[in-house]
Symmetry: C2
Subunit: 243 residues, 2 copies
């Protein structure tokens, strides 16, 4: 089964300084999971050219896909595309198609600032389609998305089909046991099913359960066998619900 | 004025796979800002020893403080302390004080799993104080906090006093102009006040304003001069509110 890995690079001082709570990472995490993509890194970094370039270069080399969020507007603190250009050692050039779109959009308004958004790394690809007004810039395996949640979300949804790969299957077990009381059963299950993705999530103050266990695999048959095995191992009266 | 930088390392497959929305990063960002600490990186990474070790080593070298969130429980997917040990090339050893605390806490319950939480990198320091039951493990400049929000928050608050440094001062300007219409004024202001932290945050669908500008500095006098200068530059009727 195909594994497709992804990193998300969130650019923005406003998030690091606590002025804004990022919601794009959570949105991307859920949407990517639904289409079988393994999000393996979220890096939230400042509006700083060198840092953007370094992080994008690292992620591009280590993951199949990279999505960036933020830093694509017309002001001084919007520098993601320039950072991506440095990451790939390319020049920033004005893209004629973007220029045309921006000239239409801005008309008499302050065109100089707007045209900054037409400057992309040389060789960039424009992705259209879906419910988006402005194409999504792609350089190699890096997709540059805006930080405003409404725009980020619609652009990611427009790209979903192209990213889709073999799905994950999941089962969940809710228990009233504490984590320490069931740790040995989880270890025993993993010994038998080493490829199982097994998560153990304690929750404080929930009336129904104390620990939620999640079992995942891209192989539904393997998952069901691991699930059955773990259910055998766990004390029967500890389990309050399964999904 | 003292600058103190910080990185936050959030460990957890549950966040990357979209099962859980992390709230610790936003909490930490706000609290650190209040006490003058510059959070400059948030890395959200999987339950993977090598990745944890690499990220912690990187952050420890590049930032004054490192806070980790998550991966400190008794189950197989809790491996932050082992990752930190690898980052610092130290052995994991059982800490006698932690062992005693855990023995008291667990009593007859499954002690083996619990005792996993007493294994810390050699030479680790235990920080007590504040409203916490279990001390916070520190290795060099790295503070290891649990991922459960209630615990993360109380532990961070207990550490706040030790992290506090010179505060940031902030002013905000709300405008009805679009970003492209004011970009040139922001650039002009930065030319005059290059050390100003100036953010420009467009918002879609807000009835009161289109762009919020934030001006920050650790030098309140410098901030006020920059604020006055920018207010001079901006078209008067564009400003709807200042803070």
């Amino acid at each position: 089964m195909r594994e497709r890995t992804c990193a998300l690079v969130v650019v923005g001082n406003e998030i690091l300084s606590g002025k804004v709570q990022d919601s794009n990472a959570y949105f991307a995490a859920r949407e990517l999971r639904k289409i079988g993509v393994a999000l393996q890194r979220i890096a939230t970094i400042p509006d700083d050219l060198a840092v953007i370039a370094e992080e994008v270069a690292y992620c591009s080399q280590h993951f199949d896909l990279v999505i960036t969020s933020g830093g694509v507007g017309p002001t001084h603190d919007d520098m993601t595309l320039e950072g991506v250009a440095i990451a790939f050692k390319r020049k920033l050039v004005r893209h004629p198609e973007l220029e045309q779109l921006i000239r239409q959009h801005f008309r008499d308004r302050s065109l100089d600032a707007g045209l900054k958004m037409a400057e992309v790394p040389e060789g960039a690809i424009l992705n259209t389609g879906g419910d988006i007004r402005f194409p999504t810039v792609q350089i190699e395996n890096v997709y540059v998305l805006p930080g405003i949640p409404q725009l980020f979300e619609s652009k990611l949804l427009a790209l979903k089909e192209r990213f889709t790969t073999d799905p994950y299957f999941m089962r969940a077990i809710y228990t009233q046991s504490s984590e320490d009381a069931i740790a040995e059963f989880l270890n025993a299950c993993l010994k038998q099913f080493p490829a199982l993705m097994l998560g153990s999530y304690p929750r404080i103050g929930h009336s129904e359960y104390r620990v939620k266990l999640t079992l995942e695999s891209k192989d539904s048959d393997y998952l069901e066998r691991a699930f059955a095995h773990l259910m055998e191992l766990l004390p029967r009266d500890a389990v309050v619900k399964v999904e």
